[in-house]
Amino acid sequence: MMDDLSRRRFLSGAAMSLLGVGSLPLLESLAAAQDKQQDGPAPLRPATAKNVIYLFMTGGMTHLDTFDLKPGAATQGPTEALKTAVDGIQISSHLPNLARHMDKIAIINSLNSTQGAHAQGQYFMHTSYTLRGTIKHPTMGAWLNLMGGRQNPNLPGHVQIGGGSNGASAGFLESRFAPLPIGDPAGGLQDSARAAGVSGETFDRRLERAKAMNKEFAAAHDQKEVRAYSDMYDEAVRLMSSKDLEAFDLRKEPENLRQAYGTSSFGQGCLLARRLIENKVRFVEVEQGGWDTHNENFESMEEKLPVIDQALSALLSDLDSRGLLEETLVVLTTEFGRTPKIVTERMGRNHYPKAFSGLMAGGGIRGGQKYGKTDATGEEVVENKVSVPDFNATIAYALGLPLDHIVHSPSGRPFTVADKGKPVTALF
């Protein structure tokens, strides 16, 4: 537990970072607070990453048909293995471009979750805590913005592209830490400019009068939900007047680069993620759905993997050529894997939280390695098991977030980023 002094420091740090003073004031104050702690917390290390591009494969990505191949095993099915740029690492033959980038990527083949249903699994992966009826936990992007502060005061620190309803929320934190949802990346941030025919003066007059009524309403109904909407109006108006709004506009990108990412929503989402990171948005999640391959698993791979292959390869090259890969941690993960055993009558695979794969690149990660191992059939983790909290602790570690720092929910319950997970330091 934190003592009072360090809690006060944390609060003042949080307040400062919210005011946009300095980029990492909170961490410094936390580091100072922790130096005084008795029980020897893990020493803080300098962050190797500033930002995260978090690619979430919704539905449960099959590990055997992507990054944990078992050539020759009965559980492999028709999926074929492909050699990569790194000796000894093979991935699906539907990922030929990514194979050439393997020197930048660390594959984790020993992920293990305790949650076998979608909502629960997605929630767990995003928050490190299991889904409860009594409290909502913050997603990793909210934790980063709380503890690390925003870097661009005009843009939201946390954006989610193409997804929604998969457990990514501010949880018990204030709603300003919640991801800004972008439904269609090509559409950008809709309605972010004043409507034609509404002058600045008119806009301001309307806003001022609405705000006056809202102030009265919020005074009568002093409730979190109401306050949150007052915050949202401030945020929206700030965003509208910001020059950084162009960060949301993919039309500013050259056509050939847009094509390089692929015309899919996921591809364009990855490109938008890069633009946002470039403009100092700290955490961008891009979702690709449709991984729940109970039926026709192998046919689905023919459609899904080329999209990932193109988008992720383009993203890694693009980040690399702009010098952004060093400071940007790219994460690809999912809620669980899929059963090695193939359901032959529908050529499908079912949910499998016991063993699955994810990957990380950039942001201080040592590429060209494979961490953890499953057995010959892909059913059991036999080496270096990585739990969901461990996986998230690794992200937090890259970002230099203190893992033992306690944040209290409004009801006074203590929580930490990554719920006591141990970072996989071998990846760095």
Binding site: L180, L189, Q223
Partner: protein, 686 residues
Amino acid sequence: MSLRCLAIGMVLLLLHAPDSRAEGDAPGALGRISRAKIASAAAEIDRRIDADLEAKGIKPTPPTSDAVFGRRVYLDLIGRIPTGAEAAAFLASSDPDKRAVLIDHLLESPGYDSHLFNWFADLLRVKSKMKAASGEAYIDYLKTEIEENTPYDELVRELLTSSGPAMERGNGAVNYYLRDRGMPEDNMSNTVRIFLGTRLECAQCHNHPFDKWTQIQYFQMVAFTGGLQYKDTDYNKSEVAQHVREIEKSLKGGAGPTQQAKNFNKMMQPLGYGIHGTGTGSVRLPHDYKYPDAKPEAAVTAKTMFGDAVNLAHTAAAPAVKGKRKTPPARGGGAGVGSREAYAEWLTSPKNPRFATVIANRMWKRMMGIGVIEPVDDLRDDTQPSNPALMEGLRNLMVEVGFDLKQYLRTVCSTRAYQRSAVLGDLAEGEPFHFQGPLLRRMSAEQIWDSLLTLVVANLDETLEGADSPEAERVYKEYEELSRLTKEDLQLIANEGKRKAKADMKAKEETPATLELQRKIARAKKKGDEDEVARLTKELEKQTGKPLLMPKKGGRRAGADKDLVRASDLPQPARPGHLVREFGQGDREQIEASHKDPAVPQVLTLLNGFIERRVTSNPRAAINDALSAARSPEEKLKAAFLGVLGRLPGSAEKALWIPDLSAQGASASKDLVATLLNTHEFMFIQ
């Protein structure tokens, strides 16, 4: 208020005033329970709340004003704000029973069906496009049942026992199982969660870590749906199926199915799509079952998880499952001992310890903002309602009204508790709530959309499509046409397919320019850019000199206003980026995936998007009609406040706006409407 508004309002009230023969009772089906009886049932609920409040020393909030009540009950029962005329009429009425009259009027209006459908759609994960096929038959089925006010227990029984072809008219209930096609285990977890408020899914792979359920109990429950087949096997025996198989064979090449065979198969797919099997009452444990009470892959027999035991031998002789609603069952359910029927009977019985409680609690939460039991779907043996007597009273009420949701909601709306002012301030997290008043709630995404439309489309509810939509009709027609195909028809289709394939090949060979155009069309199609597809197709036609098939227009309705329909008539769920999605309509992938969290795009839409485009600068918008009809600045101000907020302006508001309205006229009216729509008062239900 303007005379015109008043006149319209009075007419509305007169139309729906109680008829003299019934001594103050609602006309029609609602009248089967008298207002006096409803009032006494509501008083019983109030007694249970008030006793609890008194025991805890909590003061109830004061009764609401008519304005707050009127707006609240419109939103809660029919999912939209009242129009200015409706609000004015309600406020002006001097009938001492006017609240009861309004409740009954709303329960019998089409908006009620629309609003309840949205609720079911979120709960049941209803989608217009399901994984393998259209979901329109399911939507049509649910809308029909809601419009007929089918008792809830009967509806659930139908969902759980249905079988037969999914696309057959009136048989949409089978989509309840098809929604989880190939996943009988998940379907059972969902059933238990939705209807019994109990979380069983953890026990799918191991004994439940936090509750008492064991893995074997889980599979005993799954066994009720044992032997379920996700196809209409009766179709396989039909003559059409015979012909389809032959032709498919003739289309297949040596090296496996050709594209044509695949296409043909897809075209015929609605025919065999459905549910078969009345339930074998038996299922096998997983291969990795690890507890000592049974061996892996051992057969387990269906057994209920709580409440009464079910005797399957007895039900084996029961008549075949009724699968269809409007036509007598044409086929039996096939092999099985009828365990699905037994499952449904046990689950929906008033004797089931949780079924009535769960729906009573869910409906109470829908009206009051919070359940007596929270969360509503994680009941355990030690679950304590915040007010046990109230929970018992609500459960009894649900059973007494025969699971008639209309009568139940009618009673809830009649309680003094519902008619109190909203509770102020934050709730203490984790503390039980004692219903000193309803909670302040943000409107649901659908309520926001439907309320905005109330300001745009005059007589909005008359445009409601409801059941028997053209989309459902198309699905049924297609199924009927396919069922009727003769061998000759099928051969003709196959030959045409071959011919077209050849023609396509030839077209591709033509020039690089047309090839590029075709690529572009494919790309635009993928993006869903219909205008671009149409433009490019025309271009291609010009170049090749051949008319090509026009791409299907995606809209559900023709005309410019095809999108201006109530949320229940939009595709389910609405497309990503649609206003209703931005405000939190769920993606329908998970049970109750909708949310009410604030987000910047919502505010941007209200500031710069929908309101500006569709309301303030739209001369045909209903609210602008009302404002132009108002003759003085005072009347305009009243019309705007009544139309957007359901109340009259206060004196400070008059002092602020009347000078502007006098001096600037139309532009001030625009400012006024845009301002009111950007208030918390609009977005929240008090």
